[in-house]
């Protein structure tokens, strides 16, 4: 039998299995923490969206909840001012490179960005930041997928499911820094057919940045 540990999240006591992931355990207990990149089976967590910040007693500054493994009793706050400030800043950064055209977007109403904005009680606006978009609007180089760089939040989930499911990996990150995108470089003749039967990346995308042709 696995040992359990009891932790306190926002004054609520929850009992979790020793070694559980803090983000996953909080979500399972009805405590929402904004998140985009967390995947249950990916070890160690990608920790790339930088939204799931919480404060943990005994640690300085906000830490991403998806990187915390519960080994001992913890006291956690998910709504500390420093946490909220970072989450809003992170969301604004994402929105500064995101085409907010919800009405025409297939993700409308099930979009994770909408959900996070609503939770943080902020609009879908980049604040004082200028908006910057990538060209071209649609990358259609994949035989059965279209990729929308100005919707993508670069959570990396599609890349990880692709890597987990296929020996010949199709999706990878391409370019660097601000210009980073998801690409399908090295697409070999043999991998395209497997894409036709696999929708893993389309299904996992939180913002409908990958769509079937």
């Amino acid at each position: 039998m696995t040992e359990s540990v009891s932790i306190t999240v926002d004054d609520k006591t929850i009992v979790v299995a020793k070694g559980a992931n803090l983000l996953s355990a909080s979500l399972a207990n009805g405590i929402y923490i904004p998140h985009l990149c967390y995947m249950e089976h990916l070890q160690p967590a990608a920790a790339s969206c930088r939204l799931c910040f919480v404060e943990v007693d005994g640690r300085s500054g906000p830490v991403p909840a998806c990187t915390v493994t519960v080994e001992e009793p913890l006291t956690v706050r998910t709504d500390a001012p420093a946490v909220r400030r970072l989450q809003k800043a992170g969301l604004q950064l994402l929105l500064s490179v995101h085409r907010v055209e919800c009405k025409n977007c297939p993700a409308n109403r099930r979009c994770e960005l909408q959900r996070i904005a609503k939770f943080l009680k902020v609009g879908l606006k980049p604040g004082k930041l200028a908006q910057r978009f990538k060209q071209p609007e649609i990358d259609a180089s994949h035989p059965c997928l279209n990729y929308y760089p100005n919707r993508c939040v670069l959570c990396g989930k599609c890349v990880h499911v692709c890597r987990a499911q296929h020996r010949d990996v199709v999706l990878t990150f391409a370019r660097r820094g601000f210009d980073t995108v998801v690409g399908c470089y090295g697409l070999s003749g043999s991998s395209a057919p497997s894409c036709r039967d696999c929708r893993a990346c389309i299904d996992v995308c939180p913002v409908s940045a990958l769509l079937p042709k």
């Binding site: 920790a47 950064l93 004082k128 930041l129 939040v153 820094g177 601000f178």
Partner: protein
Amino acid sequence: MSQTSPHRYRQLRNEADRRRREWNESALPKIHIGMATCGIAAGAQETRAAFEEALAEAGVPAHIRAVGCCGHCYAEPVVIIDHPQSGFPPIFYPEVNAGKARMLAKLFLKEGDPRLEHILGATVANDLIPSVMEFPRFNLEHRLIMERCGRIDPEDIYDYIAEGGYEALADTLGRGPEDVIEAVARSGLRGRGGAGFLTGRKWALARAAAGPAKYVICNADEGDPGAYMDRTLLESNPHQVIEGMIIGAHAVGAGRGIIYVRAEYPLAVRILTRAVEQARALGLLGQGILGSALDFDIEVFQGSGAFVCGEETALIQSIEGFRGMPVHRPPYPVAGGLNGRPTLINNVKTLASVPVILQGGVEAFRAVGTEQSPGTAIFSGVGSVVHPGLVEVPMGTSLRTLIFDICGGVPKKKKFKAVQIGGPSGGYLSGAHLDTPIDFDSLAQAGAMMGSGGMVVMDEDACLVDVSRFFLDFTQKESCGKCTFCRIGTRHLLEILERLTQGEGREGDLDLLRQLSEDVKAGSLCGLGKTAPNPVLTSLRYFQDDYEAHVKEKRCPGKMCRPLIAYYIDLEKCARGCNACEGCCPVDAVFITRDRKRGIDQSKCVKCGECVVACPPEYDAVRRVSPPHLAPVIERPPAEEKDPKS
């Protein structure tokens, strides 16, 4: 078994001593040429060819030996000539180009006249000529790690052994690993890769980690713009680093070593590869090193040169064949690193310090530097200093001593303005900080950091907004793109800085810069993003006036930002009939005034500054002002009067 190591080592040492004796006893002149990358860039290949040719012509036999870099970059190509028959001690000659080489071959090597007007000094104290040790650049330095750089032949392992090299290893192999770790811990050595983590503690963690297959990685990625101390060490004395790695392997129980060196360092790669082969041939690498139970071998891995690949987790990803993206820590590499195995990663300089500590003793090492940061710091001092180059100073030396005494201060009688320390992750310090001691904690406290040891000195003409823009441009290009704050935040920081340098700064920009910097610092995943805002934050803190001037007055105090400056010609100083500026202007903006002097047409001028350079120093008539409207209006005469010859 503990007896075999010293015995095997003795054999190697005897052979090395024999070779060294033969070399020392040779009556022929010995010419040492600094042929690391910096020397070669300054023309050392041509210098060497010129010596060879001229000596052959003159029929003078001599030994010519390529050595590494001694750190005196301002003096390259550096040549040291030891000519026993001339009666002079070994002499240090700076800036020996091919012509000087031919001259020295004839006059000194053949005829015995050392041409004293060309020397920097003798390398040792003597009664005949002044010694280089009389210069602060030499006598204020304290060389622990670079001691042999520029003195020995990096391609000859026996040259290193003759200097006592690998003796620390032979000793160590007879001692228990815990003993070695304890000595490194007591020395207080801190990682020279930037963060200053205690090396002894890291080694103990790696030792304690479970599993037989462990790795030792030498981090020689060195991606900071302007930093080149790791390259110099590897090119000038590779065996000291290799020895440090083998000792590390013994201490933590590792079987494989990797030197991660950037492919842009072809000479370092070549020298390292050769050094590893030589060490293997002498039984210093491979199975049963020096007859002990230690099996350890090293491979040289060429990285493709991204700055972020110097970050330890990205470096490991890159060796594993993935895109060089950092991974959240923990797990730290000491617990789960390369291929999931415990991995000890240390910087080149950290590893090179280890043999020095074990050979010279912990106390001797601790006697240099400060209590919390023992030993020396190696800096590459560049920018507005008289003597740029690599310097090794005791930790705790003040910035003032480093900049003004050792590097010779700011040239051309200009005023010191700022020093940027720690590369793109570091920060600026102002004149008020010149008495700050150089050590990990004091620099961090002042807002800069030790980083990799890059130091850029700036004079009164520097614009801190523009230099911050330069560093942000670098970091945002080098961001791996993984995490939100660094990927997008650094781009916005750069855009705001660009706006300021173009005179388009707005009310509120400085607050936005500050806020965004704090967010990127707090929100980013790895050290690159966490430190990228440092140049912005420290310049805002110590040089806020520079920023305010850009936003409120559209003025650049350093007169660097082109859209905010104008050039004009001071008619009081301009000489009638001189045509220097007109001839050099690429856009024909210089015209002739009614009284046959020169004026600049502001509507045409692209502010390249060529005319400043062209105007003869005795007139010095071209002025630079900011904001541009301060330039007096000089009317252009009507077109028909323009050409006096027609």
